[in-house]
Every structure is written in structure tokens, then in C-alpha cells.
């Protein structure tokens, strides 16, 4: 039995993606990422001298500032900042610039569901634009669970409200994850198929959670392909200009 989504998508279909980089002049790196109507702007200021208090001075430090569309910063925004900071710390190479602080600023332009994954994708694109050394990219997706037990990907705001539970999942985007034959198998589960971050809201059974993870990981292939195509295209454009 197929679920009927309002905008006519299938349960595993993502909304149209759009990404543009280097849109702002003062920040060292900037990107805007939109999934359907949800649009997020990310800006990166490269390594500044000095680590913050209570931070390890032997490693590079990251700070994330989340700016909502209207209103003051509340607990929800602080939570998003913390999740994004941990995610970025795990994908960036921390040993290259010790005792420095890199700031990532997120501005919500429009929220139509699946906001945190959109912000993480925007932050990755902005970090690439700024040239911050990273181990690999992160690809984020929102999977939610409908009443009937169906897993639906990339919900919009109305769908998110109707769902019983949803999970934000962030997967690594290594080059090896595309070529499944060449992947290294370590203790049965290959390393590239790990989960970087997982945030769940609502009640879901363990089996349902694993179903979400399966579907999410399958969808990240198309997101990774989009990332790759987008970056390669801009590289080609800049090499033509140069």
C-alpha cells in the first residue's frame, strides 16, 4: 500500500535540491542549500587565532552560530548548534591547524521541514568553499515514520507534524561508498557505511529505526552524487575562467 504524499512524491523521493557556493563576499566560504522550500544559508570564517575557553588547544576548534529567521535564540537553536558542532568536528581534520577557531554561521531563510539536515549539508558546502581541510563530507537526511509503519524521506513541515517519529541521520560521503566492490570490510560492517550523527524525535521501535537507517543510507547515494556534480561543475567553470 503506497502512502499518498501531498506533493505527489513517492516515500523515497527527495525534494528538488539546489546548492550555490561563494555567494557572500566577506566570509571566507559561503553556501546556500535548499531542499524544496527549505532554504539555509551557511558562512564560514576560516581559522582565527586562539581556541575558545574549555577547548582543547592542541586541536582545531569549531564554533557554530545558528540564526533563526525571527525571534531570539532559544534552547532548540542551542541544541542544533551543539549537534552541528559535533558533526563538523568529526568530519574535519583537527590536527592541521591547532589552537585555532573556525566559525560556521547558519542563517535560516525558510523552514519547510527537514531543517537540520539542510543546515548540515549547507555547512559542508560552505566548508568546502572556504577550503577547510576535511576527511570526507557529511550527507544529512531526515527519515520519518508514519502511523502505518512506512518510512518517508525528506518530509515537509506538514508531513513532519503528522508523523509519529522522525530521525535526522548524517552519513559520511567517502569516495569509496559509491563503489561498493572496493569498500573495505571491517568486522562484517564496512567503515564507510557508518552513521556520524543520529537525532530522533518521538517513539519508534528498534526495527523501525534500522529501516529508517537503511532507507536513509540508500538516499544518500543520490545526495552524494549531487554534491559531487555540483563541486565538479564549479571547478570546471573556475578553470575555464582562469
Amino acid at each position: 500500500m503506497e502512502i499518498d504524499r501531498e506533493d505527489g512524491r513517492t516515500p523515497n523521493q527527495l525534494r528538488p535540491l539546489a546548492c550555490s557556493r561563494n555567494i557572500l563576499h566577506r566570509p571566507h566560504g559561503s553556501a546556500s542549500w535548499s531542499q524544496g522550500d527549505t532554504k539555509v544559508l551557511a558562512a564560514v570564517y576560516g581559522p582565527k587565532a586562539g581556541a575558545k575557553k574549555n577547548e582543547n588547544a592542541e586541536k582545531a576548534c569549531f564554533e557554530v552560530i545558528w540564526k533563526p529567521k525571527t525571534g531570539q535564540i532559544g534552547k532548540v537553536e542551542k541544541e542544533y548548534e551543539m549537534i552541528m558542532k559535533r558533526t563538523i568536528q568529526s568530519i574535519c581534520v583537527l590536527t592541521v591547524n591547532p589552537n585555532t577557531t573556525t566559525s560556521v554561521i547558519i542563517q535560516v531563510v525558510h523552514d519547510d521541514g527537514s531543517l537540520l539536515p539542510c543546515a548540515i549539508n549547507a555547512a559542508c558546502a560552505a566548508l568546502v568553499d572556504a577550503g577547510i581541510p576535511m576527511k570526507h563530507l557529511a550527507v544529512a537526511i531526515c527519515c520519518c515514520l508514519a502511523d502505518s509503519g512506512y518510512v518517508v524521506l525528506d518530509p515537509n513541515k506538514l508531513e513532519e507534524k503528522k508523523m509519529t517519529a522522525f530521525a535526522y541521520l548524517v552519513f559520511p560521503n567517502t569516495t569509496l561508498s559509491v563503489l561498493s566492490e572496493g569498500s573495505s570490510v571491517a568486522k562484517g560492517e564496512s567503515v564507510e557505511h557508518g552513521i556520524i550523527t543520529s537525532v530522533t524525535h518521538g517513539l519508534m521501535s528498534v526495527d523501525d529505526y534500522f529501516l529508517c537507517v537503511e532507507n536513509g543510507r540508500a538516499a544518500t547515494a543520490s545526495l552524494s552524487a549531487f554534491f559531487r556534480k555540483n563541486f565538479q561543475q564549479s571547478q570546471r567553470d573556475s578553470s575555464k575562467a582562469g
Binding site: Y45, K67, Q107, V109
Partner: protein
């Protein structure tokens, strides 16, 4: 604290001398004339009341929202509006997150004064139930990229957002006419705000002890200039607000010259804003026609699928 100061961008002596000596020969670093403005683009977002303005390298976004609140005791028949300025750390490495600094507050006050004192936004039409419920309009200005002259860009963004904002229609009903029913946009078309005129801001920079005048300074020129003035005028030639916050003293004739320059440009800028708003309204009304089509389609398909 010292770490933060070390990271601040400071203009080098070479750059400031270059800018000043170029201005002596009436040349600006980016090749503009002294009174030329940079390229202005006005774009709108998905929701009503959201605008994005680019003035050269300066990038500003404005969001307008409204909610029903109790009116002020001394103005029971009038709605209210308030402006919140956010100098996002995205715009400039020296902007700190958290509490707005002096320049953020000043920018908000200049725009607020121009709109409020000159009665550009009609507040009496925002009254729903006298003494009980009125609409309170909130304008959030986000500075995304500081390329200089934030006041002008933010002012245009605020005006564009106010012109395209639609508030929900509400009727007073129930017993004693004390209940207010807010109609969702699907039921009744949301209403625009009544804007009587558009106060547009023009910023001037003074160099060389007030003898050289420049319009629309970039952030490099702002770091060099010795004084500035913002004049807010509307297309009718009325002066809505003037702001000259201290700094270098300037001759009266120069001030009058600035006022004349500003009023001569007001009509052109107002036209640009109105044209952008017209184009956006046309596009939105044509989109609405398509929406009804898809709604009708799904209504037809719905029952068929269930069976």
C-alpha cells in the same frame, strides 16, 4: 579578549592613503562616480513579507511577521510595529553574536524613525478590537554581508518586505462582538498593509574634513571617512529623517547639497522598489491560478485511490 582583537579586520595605512588621494581627484576605488550607487537587486522569498536586497556586495534580508496583541494603553485604536536588527556574524568578522551593538541599534532606530514618525505605515488600519486586540507587525532585518552602506540596503529591504507582506483577514463576531476569528489564507485572501509613502534612505560619507562628499560608501571607504550622514526622503520631496551622528563638523552648504542630491534620487529608487514589488505580485497571482488546478486534480483522484 586579546585573541578576538587580533582577528579584527583593520584597514592598512596604504589602503587608506590610496582611497583618500584617489578621492582628491574625484576617483573612487571601484570606478564609480562620487554620487553613483552600486547595482541594486531586490528579490523575494517564498513566504509573503520576506525580501532579499543586494546593493553591490552588501546583502540584507528582511522578514515581516504579525501577531495579535493588546494595544498600548495610550493608543487603544492603533496597531504597532517594531524593528529588530540582527548583525549576523556572517556579515563581518567583527560582528559579535548576541546582544546587538551600537551600530545595529542605530540602524534599527534610523529605519524605525523614518517609518513611524512620518506615518508611512498606517497603524490605525491594524486595529481589530479597540482597546483589546490589535496587530503588531514585527520586522526582522538580517545583515548577511557587510559591503558597506548597510542603512540604505536595510531600508530598501524593509520597505520591500512591508509592501509584499500579507496579514490574515479577521472578522469580529460572536456574542457581544467580542470574539475575533482569524481566517486562514485558504478561506479568505490575506490583506496587504496600508503604506502611505516610501521613505528611502541615502547615506553620504564625508572625507578630507568635510570637503569631499561621497554617496553609497563601501566598507573600505567607511573605514576611511571622517563623518557620515543619512537622509531619508520620499518621492514627494518630504524629508522624513536626517541622522548625522557627531564626528567631523560639516558646512551648512554641504548639508543642503546632500538634501538636494537625496531628493533628486528618491523618485528613481522608489520606482525601482515599486517595479520589483509589482513583478513579484504578478508572479504570485499567476502561481495561485496553477495551485487551484492541482488541488482540483487531487480531489478528483482521492476517492478513486481509496476504492
Amino acid at each position: 579578549m586579546e585573541g578576538r582583537l587580533n582577528n579584527m579586520w583593520r584597514l592598512t595605512v596604504n589602503e587608506s592613503k590610496f582611497v583618500e588621494s584617489a578621492l582628491q581627484s574625484e576617483l573612487r576605488v571601484d570606478g564609480r562616480g562620487l554620487y553613483d550607487y552600486r547595482k541594486l537587486t531586490i528579490k523575494f522569498g517564498k513566504e509573503s513579507g520576506s525580501s532579499e536586497v543586494q546593493l553591490g556586495q552588501t546583502h540584507v534580508m528582511a522578514f515581516v511577521t504579525a501577531q495579535l496583541v493588546q494595544p498600548y494603553k495610550d493608543r487603544p485604536n492603533e496597531g504597532s510595529f517594531s524593528i529588530f536588527t540582527v548583525f549576523s556574524p556572517m556579515a563581518d568578522p567583527s560582528f559579535e553574536p548576541g546582544h546587538p551593538g551600537e551600530s545595529a541599534v542605530e540602524l534599527g532606530r534610523i529605519i524605525d524613525r523614518a517609518l513611524r514618525e512620518s506615518r508611512a505605515v498606517d497603524t490605525e488600519s491594524l486595529c481589530v478590537l479597540a482597546g483589546k486586540l490589535v496587530w503588531s507587525v514585527r520586522i526582522d532585518l538580517h545583515i548577511l554581508d557587510n559591503g558597506g552602506n548597510l542603512v540604505d540596503a536595510a531600508n530598501i529591504a524593509a520597505l520591500a518586505a512591508l509592501l509584499t507582506f500579507r496579514r490574515p483577514d479577521c472578522t469580529v463576531g460572536g456574542e457581544n462582538s467580542q470574539e475575533v476569528i482569524i481566517h486562514p489564507p485558504e478561506e479568505r485572501e490575506p490583506l496587504p498593509l496600508i503604506i502611505h509613502h516610501l521613505p528611502v534612505a541615502f547615506t553620504f560619507g564625508f572625507f578630507n574634513k568635510g570637503s569631499i562628499l561621497v554617496m553609497d560608501p563601501t566598507y573600505v571607504e567607511e573605514a576611511v571617512m571622517c563623518g557620515r550622514m543619512t537622509v531619508t526622503v520620499n518621492a514627494n520631496g518630504d524629508i522624513c529623517a536626517i541622522q548625522k551622528p557627531g564626528e567631523e563638523g560639516v558646512n551648512q552648504s554641504v548639508i543642503l547639497h546632500c538634501l538636494r542630491l537625496a531628493s533628486s534620487r528618491a523618485a528613481a529608487t522608489t520606482k525601482i522598489i515599486r517595479e520589483a514589488v509589482e513583478a513579484y505580485n504578478r508572479e504570485r497571482s499567476s502561481q495561485k491560478v496553477k495551485r487551484h488546478h492541482t488541488l482540483a486534480k487531487s480531489e478528483v483522484l482521492g476517492p478513486v485511490v481509496v476504492v
